[in-house]
Structure formats: C-alpha cells, structure tokens
C-alpha cells in the first residue's frame, strides 16, 4: 500500500502519457463512427503504417536528420500525416464507399479485412521483422511533484495537445466542421441541404488517419520499435477509449483516451502489470453495459 502511495505521481503521469496516444487514435475512430456509424477496425493499422512511413523517410534521409533533430522529426511526421491521410481516404473509397447502405455487419467485416490487408501488405513490403526506429528521442529527465518526467514525453504530449486543439477548432469553427456535424445528425437531410456528403466523409477519413499516422511516428520515435502488428492492440485500446468517452463525440474521445490511460496505470499498479489489458477491456464491458453512450455521449434518442 505504501508503495502504491509513493508511486502515485508516477502512475498518474505514465497513465496520462499513454492516454494521450490512445486519445490521438481514438479521435479517428470516433469521427468516422460519428459520421457513417462504422467501426473502422483498420484504423489501428493506419497508425502502424504511419510509423513505417516515418521509418522509411528517416532512413532515406540517412544521417542528415541528426543535425536537425526535433525539427526534422516534425517535418517527417507531417509528411507521414499527409500520406496516411491519403491512405485512409483510399481505404474508404475502395472498401467502405461501395458498401454504403449495406448492412452494418457487412461493412464491419470489410473493416476487419481492410485491417488484415494493411497489416500483411506492410509485412510483405517491409518484412515481418521488428525494426528499430532510426531516430530516438532522448532528453533530460526532470522530477516534477515526485514523478520522473522526460523532455521527449513533454514534447510528444504537447504535439498531441496541439493536434487535438486544432481538430477541435476545425470541427467547431469551419464550414467543413459544420458539414461533418450535420451529416452525423442526418445524412439524408444534409444531402438535401446541399452538403457534398462524399467529400466530407473523405475529409473525415483523411483527418482521422492523419492523426493516427502522427501517433505512429511519435510512438516509433519514443519507444524505438516498430512492427507490422503494432497497430492491433492499440487499435482495440483506442476503440475502448472512444467508447468510454462516448463514441461519435470528439471531445469524448480525447477524454476517453486519458481516462483509459489512467485506468490502466492504476489497474496495473494495484493488481499487477499482466492484468493491464484485462483491466482495460473489463472497463469497456462495464461501459457497454452500464453507460453505452460513454461519459460525454450524446443522447441516442435524437435519431428516430
């Protein structure tokens, strides 16, 4: 018990850090679900593809990136975001658009198929061997309120925060954002009001996938290891985070990510690290049974 108390600041910090990754990926899940009611299970693999694109770019740059450090990493991250965003749009066009209006189970199975295609596509191109990331974020260790905090952690959380803030502004403050919100309320109605539904859906996939791609590059640079199956577990966790926050709700996804990170950190501190996943998914089941709309979920009755 004493151990748990002295560890507390560290547990909270570790939870928030992992949670910010979950949040970034959960956003894509939540946005897509909010608009076309699709659980895009290929989303975790977009994160993996982002990490591999970052790996390829940094390897191609060779030694020159070392001199520019963080700046080059951010540039690489942006290029990866563009590419993963495009891949997200392509996946939507090829796999989901032809099935619009099909039973939701069919689309769900297609999503699982898209996920496998991405995983084994990358394995076929890059090999199934896990790879070390060419750039490693190293930095000072600071002690804050009894927790050990590293500079790279702060930088990555800042980047995640900026991306999420920008997205929030975009959804609430631009006409595309308004179009997204209106489609999620009533797709047919929006179509009749002159909203270009297909282009807005494409844009949603682009943004969601770009955020996952950013998370992939960040995870590669921080943890230093990438493999073609790295998106699987974290995809499920992000889905859990989206459900906790209220799937379809953008701010809920961010909150859900952080909450899940904290829940996992506390759970594994109290009952042991090997129970971490069990804890995360038990929370998912709890939410699905007790409060399926999540913490910030909108009332479902709006849809008639």
């Amino acid at each position: 018990m004493e151990q748990i108390l002295t560890d507390m600041p560290q547990v909270i910090w570790d939870g928030l850090f992992v949670g910010s990754f979950y949040a970034l990926i959960a956003l894509g899940y939540s946005m897509v679900y909010g608009i076309i009611k699709l659980l895009n299970f290929a989303h975790g693999d977009i994160y993996m593809v982002g990490a591999f694109i970052g790996y390829a770019l940094l390897t191609a740059l060779g030694g020159s990136f070392q001199m520019m450090g963080l700046f080059s990493l951010i540039v690489v991250m942006m290029i990866s975001m563009l590419l993963t965003g495009t891949i997200g749009v392509v996946v939507e066009k090829l796999a989901y658009r032809p099935l619009r209006g099909a039973p939701r189970l069919a689309v769900l199975i297609t999503a699982v198929g898209a996920s496998f295609s991405l995983e084994y596509g990358v394995a076929a191109i890059a090999g199934s061997k896990p790879r070390g990331f060419p750039v490693r974020l190293d930095g000072e260790t600071l002690f804050m309120l009894g927790a050990r905090v590293t500079v790279p952690q702060i930088i990555l959380m800042l980047i995640a925060g900026v991306l999420m803030f920008a997205l929030d502004r975009y959804i609430r403050g631009t006409s595309t954002g308004r179009a997204m919100r209106s489609i999620s309320l009533d797709m047919k109605g929006s179509l009749l009001m002159g909203v270009n539904v297909n282009s807005v859906i494409s844009r949603t996939f682009f943004i969601g996938s770009a955020l996952a791609g950013a998370a992939g590059v960040m995870a590669g640079a921080y943890y230093g290891n990438i493999s073609f199956l790295m998106g699987f577990i974290i995809g499920l966790k992000a889905f859990t985070a989206a459900v906790i926050g209220g799937i379809g709700n953008i701010r809920g996804a961010m909150l859900g990510g952080l909450v899940l990170g904290l829940v996992e950190a506390f759970g594994s501190e109290i009952v042991g690290g090997q129970w971490r996943d069990a804890f995360a998914f038990a929370v998912l089941i709890l939410f699905l049974t007790l409060r399926p709309t999540g913490i910030l979920g909108e009332r479902v009755t709006e849809r008639v």
Partner: protein, 389 residues
C-alpha cells in the same frame, strides 16, 4: 434479416460437414506409420515461424536445416542413396497455425520433424506428430512442458528451462547479486524459466527473489513493470521473454533510471535486441546455448553459411543444422525410417558431434549436458562472457 438467418443455417451445416470430413481424414492419417515407401526422397518436416515477430529466427533455423540437407545430399544421401527433402511449414509462434501446419506436414508424409521454436506453439503439435508416428527432434523450443508430455517420440536438443535456470543461478552466485527481479511474458517457455529460477534461488538461499511478475507481449508501454522493478530494489533483472518486448523493457528501464544489471534468457539473445533497445542494450547479459560466433572452430561453417544464404548465422541456426544431421544419423543407425526403429536409434545416440558439444540423451529425451553459457552485449552484438565451466 430472414436471409441472414438462412445463411447462418447454411454456414452451420457447411461447418458440420467440414468438421466431419476433417475428422475422417484425421482418422485415416492418425495411428498409422508415416507410410512412405522404401525408395524416393525422405521427407523431413520443419515447423518454424516464417511470419509474425519471430520470423527472422524462423529463417535462420530453416537455413541451418537446409544447409545440413544440402550437405548430406551432396555426399550421396543416406540409406543407400536416398535424398533428403526439407519441407518448411509456418508455425507463426501461434498454437492454431502450428497445429494446422503439423497436420499439413503429416498428410504430406514426413518421416521426421526437426522444427519447433516457440514452446507455446510447439506443444500442441506433439500429439499430432506422435499419433502419426513421426519422431520429433526439437532444435529450439525448450519448455519443461514439452518434457512433461512424456512422449517417447520427442527429443529436445536445446537445453531445457530447468537447465537454463541452473545456469542463471550459477551466474547470480558468481556475480554476487543479492536481489533478483524475474519478469516473464506469460508464455509457457518464459514462465517456465522464471518459476524454475525462483525455486532454485530460494533453495540456494544466498540471494532473494524480490519480484516475480509477468507482462503482456505485443505492447509498447511497459511503464508499470518498470515502476515495480524500480520499487523492488533489485540489483539484477532477469527477463525470460522474447527480444521484441525485451528491447522495449530494457530501454524503458534505463530511461527510468534503473542502474542495476540486466540479464535475458535465450529467447532474447539476438542482435535485434540491440536494434530495439539502442544504447541501453550494452552490457546486458544473456543465458544462452552456444551460438556460432561463440563456438571455437566454427569459422569455416560460418563462412559456408554466409556464402549460401548471404546472412550471418543466428541463434538456432546451429541447432537446426544439428537436428537434421542427427535425424540422418538416426535413420542410418536404424537402417530404415520406421518410427520405432528411429526412436530406438535416437535413444542409442552417444556422443554425437554437435555444436553444443558431445550429444547424448537422458531417459527424458533431453540433453545429457545442458551447455548453457553467459553472453554479454558488446557493440550491439552478443559475445561470450563466461562459459560457466
């Protein structure tokens, strides 16, 4: 909706029919001898991971086996000129995939199996091969669970978890560690070593086990186990899982300010560990069976291997090479490929010249001498540190 229900029904019937047919074919195949003729090539089956995160090791194992097959065939084959034919099947370190591959190999009529890397995936294949009368020489997988199956047809030529734990304890005593933290990845191979090591350290009494915990493989963030280790006051961490998680844990341990020593078991004793952990991997110890670059007099063999496959031999290349040679020797001694004769021949093997030293089997069909050594990571590669002699 109606349509959906009907499809489900049809699916159900289809599954039932499939199950029935596969049960039949199982019945036809099971129980009999391997059933090959007395001429033509002798098929050797090998299940190794060719996909998934352990695929690189799978490739180095199949290369080692292929090299032995090529050498034996070039020398005119065995049993009056019969050639050997190696059939690789993917085990993917996954029990279901391995079982499917074992069935595939059995139905293609292999006379012996020389595969098996991940213990968790190897274990369920044992009864399949055993029922079909296929003896197994397992080059890498070494969980005590494999021994506990007590199958007459199973032979392990890698040191077992028990022998590895004994080596770990030797090293702990030699270096004078006082507080040991044991971490496994919840797989049968890995848990086996931590359980056995804890038992032996407790029985020995010179040091204490301050932590024995598990992590989930396949994740990126291991901050909770890192906190536990730092809170336990350990001066040695012994990680018994595979290198992918091992690399991450080592990196995160060092980042979190852990200053004690780190040791890994043979599943992590691979140069890839350094690729993942970066500078943090320097000075990491490993309990390992001898590898090509830690064996004296293996230079010529390494050069041949490089010429054939354009890559350095990796851990278990030698064991796989030896497994095939051992199989050939057993066929020669038996004079045929009949299951019982081959098993008897393997039991009778004495001081067979293998990379790990003279090889004979105990009555449990494990190595009579374990041959574990301690390696240390230096300049991103494992080198011999202490041969524990």
């Amino acid at each position: 909706m109606n349509f959906g229900k009907r499809t489900l029904g049809v699916l159900g019937v289809a599954t039932a029919v499939l199950l029935a047919t596969s049960a039949c074919s199982g019945g036809l195949l099971g129980g009999g001898d391997s059933g090959d003729s007395d001429s033509g090539p002798i098929k050797i089956g090998m299940i190794v991971p060719t996909s998934g995160s352990s695929a690189p090791t799978g490739a180095s194992m199949s290369n080692g086996a292929q090299m032995a097959v090529d050498e034996i065939n070039a020398a005119g084959g065995i049993l009056d000129g019969r050639m050997l034919e190696l059939q690789i099947a993917d085990g993917a370190c996954d029990a279901q995939q391995a079982v499917a591959s074992a069935n595939k190999l059995v139905s293609s009529g292999v006379s012996i199996s020389v595969g098996g890397y991940c213990s968790g995936a190897t274990l369920p294949t044992l009864p399949i091969f055993d029922k079909a009368g296929v003896p197994m020489i397992i080059p890498a997988a070494n969980s005590q669970d494999l021994v506990n199956e007590k199958l007459k047809s199973v032979f392990l030529i890698n040191g077992t978890g028990l022998q590895q734990s004994a080596a770990a304890l030797d090293f702990v005593k030699k270096q004078g560690y006082k507080a040991v933290a044991l971490v496994d990845d919840n797989t049968s191979y890995s848990k086996d070593i931590t359980t056995e090591t804890e038992k032996q350290i407790k029985a020995d009494g010179a040091s204490t086990v301050v932590l024995n915990t598990s992590v989930n493989p396949g994740e990126s963030d291991y901050s909770s186990v890192v906190r536990d280790i730092n809170g336990s006051g350990a001066d040695l961490v012994y990680w018994t899982g595979y290198y992918q998680e091992g690399g991450l844990i080592i990196d995160q341990l060092r980042k979190a300010g852990y200053t004690g020593d780190i040791m890994v078991a043979d599943g992590s004793a691979d140069p890839t560990l350094a690729e993942i952990a970066g500078a943090a991997a320097e000075g990491v110890y490993a309990t390992m069976t001898p590898t090509p670059n830690t064996i004296d007099g293996a230079e010529g063999w390494i050069a041949d291997y490089k010429k054939a496959f354009g890559d350095d031999p990796k851990p278990y290349s030698t064991q796989s090479y030896d497994a095939v040679r051992l199989a050939a020797a057993a066929f020669e001694a038996a004079g045929n490929t009949n299951t019982d004769d081959v098993i008897k021949a393997l039991e009778g093997i004495k001081d067979f010249k293998a990379f790990s030293g003279p090889l004979s089997f105990t009555k449990d069909h494990t190595l009579a001498s374990g041959g574990f050594v301690i390696l240390v990571m230096k300049d991103a590669d494992f080198q011999l540190f202490d041969n524990l002699q």
